[in-house]
């Protein structure tokens, strides 16, 4: 096994896991709500992107901003119309409702798209690579994927830490009651958080569709990777989530290099080890 190569590939794959995780982290961070359908929406986004590309011939990267805009609107509407109604009555209602959504999304996709494995083609860039010297090379596409993930992390950090919207997000997360008496309209704010989460889902879905072959039933796997990246990285910082994704990616890459059957398992083992040793995560900013 070439360690350097394995770690580089794992790091770049970790960018995708970080993209999975950041959308989930936004929602959990602001309204302490867990979207069980998160992974299924990633799969839904990939099918929708595939359809859009087939219909218009657009380059997959051009579909990303379009998909992000559509998903942001959808996320806002879903939050205001449905998910807000599940808040305030304990942890169970949002879990059950989003679990139900997950089942609906998966089965609609099974019904309409069949269970065949699909993939988004990336003309020209599928196999392009950059030589790094010493016999090493990185794929151009995985590199772009990682750069986009890092850019999303930076953008989210800026939104949360440098803007009024971010102050409102953190205030509501700290103390919803006091936030309401200083004038924060939390229902609307939760809609914005969901819009951001779904925009990130749309970005993640295109990269997932190019990187993997996917079927309608993969959603729960992606939800699990997203969870693992968040737990490894720790709550409260999107850079931590990015790092969590990278650690998960590296663990899987090393596992795969040792034995093709061990990749996913290695990721789970690292996740469990972090949970045992540092339950708050490696880079947690808030408890």
């Amino acid at each position: 096994m070439n360690w350097v190569d394995t770690i580089v590939q794992g790091t770049l794959l970790g960018g995708l896991y970080a993209l999975f995780a950041m959308g989930l982290a936004v929602i959990y961070g602001v309204m302490r709500q867990i979207n069980i359908a998160h992974g299924d929406f990633i799969v839904l986004g990939a099918y929708m992107s595939l359809g859009l590309i087939a219909a218009t011939g657009l380059h997959p990267f051009l579909v990303i901003p379009l998909g992000a805009a559509v998903f942001a609107l959808f996320g806002y509407a879903l939050q205001r119309g449905l998910l807000n109604r599940t808040l305030g009555g304990g942890i169970l209602a949002p879990l059950v409702v989003t679990y139900g959504l997950a089942i609906v999304v998966e089965n609609v996709l099974q019904q309409t798209q069949s269970a065949d494995a699909r993939s988004i083609k990336l003309p020209g860039l599928d196999t392009a690579s950059l030589p790094l010297g010493g016999g090493l090379a990185v794929g151009v596409f995985p590199l772009i994927m990682f750069v986009v993930a890092a850019a999303v992390a930076i953008l989210l950090e800026i939104v949360f830490n440098r803007t009024r919207l971010g102050v409102a997000f953190r205030a509501v997360s700290d103390d919803r009651e006091i936030a309401s008496i200083v004038g924060v309209r939390d229902q609307r704010l939760f809609g914005y958080a969901s819009a951001i989460s779904f925009a990130v889902i749309a970005v993640a879905s295109v990269f997932m569709g190019i990187k993997f072959t996917f079927t309608p039933s993969l959603g729960p796997n992606f939800l699990l990777y997203a969870f693992e990246a968040i737990v490894i990285g720790g709550m409260g910082s999107f850079y931590g989530t990015l790092a969590g994704g990278v650690i998960l990616g590296i663990a899987q890459a090393i596992g795969f290099a040792l034995n093709p059957g061990w990749g996913i398992l290695a990721g789970h083992l690292v996740f469990l080890a972090v949970l045992l040793v540092r339950p708050t995560g490696l880079f947690a900013r808030t408890a």
Binding site: V167, A168, R170, A171, D175, I178, S180, V182, G183, R185
Partner: protein
Amino acid sequence: MSALLETRALTAYYGDFQALFGIDAEVCEGERVALIGANGAGKSTFLRAIAGLGRSAPDAILFDGTAIGAKAPPEIAALGIALVPEGRRLFASLSVEENLSTGTFNGRKGPWTIDRVYELFPVLGEKRRASPSALSGGQQQMVAIGRALMANPRLLMCDEVSLGLAPAVVKDVYAALRRACDADGVSVVIVEQDIDLACEMSQRAYCFTHGSVSLSGESAALTRDAISAAYFGV
């Protein structure tokens, strides 16, 4: 003087427990009113009800002639009612300056800016980047008051500002509060355990006993005997 805030037979609940049994009270424009009474008499519940945190009958609370009893807290904040809550309740993950800035979320224009709060409480300017947890109790209370002032309120409600503070600090905080409110003619409701301080700070006072008003009048005219009689409901 006309009443800025008026409650008519206001009832309110603390959980499942009825805490207020028909409160009639009023606060005039620019007036400072104290609420005194034993623990559990309903003072905090009264302030929370006005801020919109309880479920009240629509016309049980009138603000500037408008019925606000059924309005949500952000709408009430937008009308110019600000609360300094019991226990300060600062946002833990926000810096001092960010905490102050949340006061502006109600969208009201007015004389208060971050710089004016720092003029009032210079120590906060030095700690603007600090986390509230790094502040002393008195400084935290200054942030809570500053946050409420940043809302440019017409009515400022302060719930036990002195709780857990050293006596000297309490004096400073109240002096600053008085300066700040007198300058702009802001009406103030003060809930305070220290009766002497409450009477000194206010023009009128209401004494709450078991969720009802047991005594009210000009603060200067209230005698200690009358207050202790009202306090214990004898």
